[in-house]
Symmetry: C2
Subunit: 353 residues, 2 copies
């Protein structure tokens, strides 16, 4: 009887395991962010809040549909970022704030967790969807990071779509956003995402032209596709003072973005210099693989402990190989959302949601 | 008697400890590299070998003198890199190979292990000592990485020294180097540092204009100063195809360069894309701090195991908080040298030296 029970259990195990394995393999998940800052619920207009939640939802559903139909993580990540780049709500491509010289400069990156390969572009202008150019760098160039006009030229050779400056301005949408901003301004919202000493001056400048929609609104996505591949992608209109040719964390592997299908995928948003110095995205993965920490514990250790104590503000979305999601930020708010492996959809703006 | 012995031992302990602590504190060390590749002892000319060993020795002694006199790690690292940037033997500043459009583009970085702060520049032209500009970014800018013409402009505002293209060509020294190259060429040396599939074409191009002096000869330094501070710095004339605006690992924190006084300092040289994707410099430190590995074991794990099995060629110099030095490369050779905490000087070119 004892033996027959063993045989029965063994048979049960054999019959269940492959099915379970396939089910696990097939599970997909997606998380996005649209920037971190000091958004406060008491001060935002309902219209603006709703607009952000809707934009996050559309982005999530777009990427999720690609994943559900068996599409690759790369396709899902690019499709998701495109939605956010095309929206004037976020500081990426269309919607990026014009700098003093009247131009926009974009940075973008995509990293494939299966191959640890990546494509990134920095300080490029006029490209409709910088994330598409980043993907071309990944797929068609032997390099990882291309910058400036030369990168644009290469993109032109590859047939990437360019747009006039007017496109990025999006008069019609911008004006409706301006109206929402005006209402927000009148209600006295402050937007001071990086209240460190060195940023005092630039914060004062930023305050003059208050922009709750994401002057600092980098966008990012992490996905788990049906094949078990983790992918991360990030796109931004940058932070400040473009005349210096400043490059932030976004296009840097391991700083603002990282993906390794065996461990985790991360996309960050915040004070780029700190993300670079503390290698935020990779360090979360390093704590997981070297110290056996969970994605939540590792993300909190890096963002709430190391980064915050150094004076670095911002947040991350992170996903492990099982599709578990962590969304950790040390600012009062972060535009964010996910559709998890159970299919549950969530969007949030403020802490505690 | 037992008690008096205790008192005696306690007194001994008190009298020894501070002195020991000071001695430990006071120990300084320096290591440099001048690029990794397939140099082969059987094929090099004695003149060229001697020139490299001499250049490495001068660089080491320059930095060591700063450290011995109590200078900071930053001063020592910059002084050392300057010597190598000023030498036509290495592919950094003066000595960098002209690209197809007749220009040189430089990348450089310096990282302070006490503050985890860094300054870096990429794709800049005409700056006599790119490492000086990187230091200004560290000390005077709120940013970490500045690129292109905007970075040059900022440097000009800061009073950095520029030179005409002729300076970087260094007619006189270049001609004598060309003669040495011609001899080497006649003896049929091959220089194929990155024999991966994707580099076949560029290797063929490189072979046409054979350059044993370091078309891939990035220079780097790691130092431990009297205060116990670790500093790392790297400078390069870049790799290939500048028209694409390619940025490699050199100016990227954690990829080609990293320093944390509590753990280690690393400067790398090799196939930059792999160094970026595998975050070579930071990963060595991560294995040390998270897994308790020694600097030698960690450097071998990352360079000989992870990097090599991925197809990434190159090497690193690394130093831990006690001044222990590891010099690990998966290529046949790496221009390298050190003066250790005992004051012992070493220079090497080939593996096994």
């Amino acid at each position: 009887m004892k033996k027959s029970l063993h045989v029965f259990l063994l048979a049960l195990l054999i019959s269940i395991s492959p099915a379970q394995a396939i089910a696990e393999k097939g599970r997909v998940a997606i998380a996005v962010h649209g920037g971190a800052g000091t958004m406060k619920p008491s001060r935002a207009t309902p219209e603006l809040e709703r607009a952000y939640r809707e934009a996050l939802t559309v982005a999530l559903k777009t990427g999720y549909a690609v994943l559900e139909s068996g599409g690759s993580g790369l396709d899902a990540a690019v499709a998701t970022i495109r939605v956010m780049e095309d929206s004037p709500l976020f500081n990426a491509a269309r919607g990026a704030v014009f700098n003093s010289s009247g131009g926009n400069e974009f940075d973008a990156i995509i990293m494939d967790g299966d191959t640890l390969d990546a494509g990134a572009v920095a300080a490029i202008k006029g490209v409709r969807n910088p994330i598409e150019l980043a993907r071309l760098v990944l797929e068609r160039s032997p390099h990882v990071l291309l910058v400036g006009e030369s990168a644009q030229e290469w993109g032109r050779e590859q047939g990437i779509e360019f747009q006039d400056p007017e496109y990025f301005y999006t008069e019609r949408r911008w004006k409706s956003l301006e109206a929402a901003r005006e209402r927000a301004r009148q209600s006295g919202i402050e937007f001071d995402p990086f209240p460190t000493q060195e940023n005092k001056t630039q914060d004062k400048e930023a305050a003059k032209d208050f922009d709750p929609s994401g002057r600092f609104g980098t966008v990012g996505v992490v996905v788990l596709d049906r094949s078990g591949r983790l992918t991360a992608a990030t796109s931004t209109g940058g932070l400040t003072n473009k005349r210096w040719g400043r490059v932030g964390d976004t296009p840097i592997i391991g700083a603002g973005t990282y993906a390794d299908s065996r461990t985790c995928a991360v996309s960050g948003t915040g004070h780029g210099e700190y993300f670079m110095r503390y290698m935020v995205a990779y360090d979360i993965c390093a704590e997981m693989k070297y110290q056996g920490r969970s994605i939540q514990v590792a993300a909190e250790s890096v963002v709430m402990d190391k980064l915050k104590s150094a004076g670095g503000n911002g947040g991350v979305i992170a996903m492990d190989a099982q599709g578990n999601i962590a969304m950790v930020f040390n600012t009062p708010g972060m535009y964010r959302g996910y559709i998890d492996i159970e299919g549950k959809l969530f969007t949030g703006i403020y802490a505690g949601e």
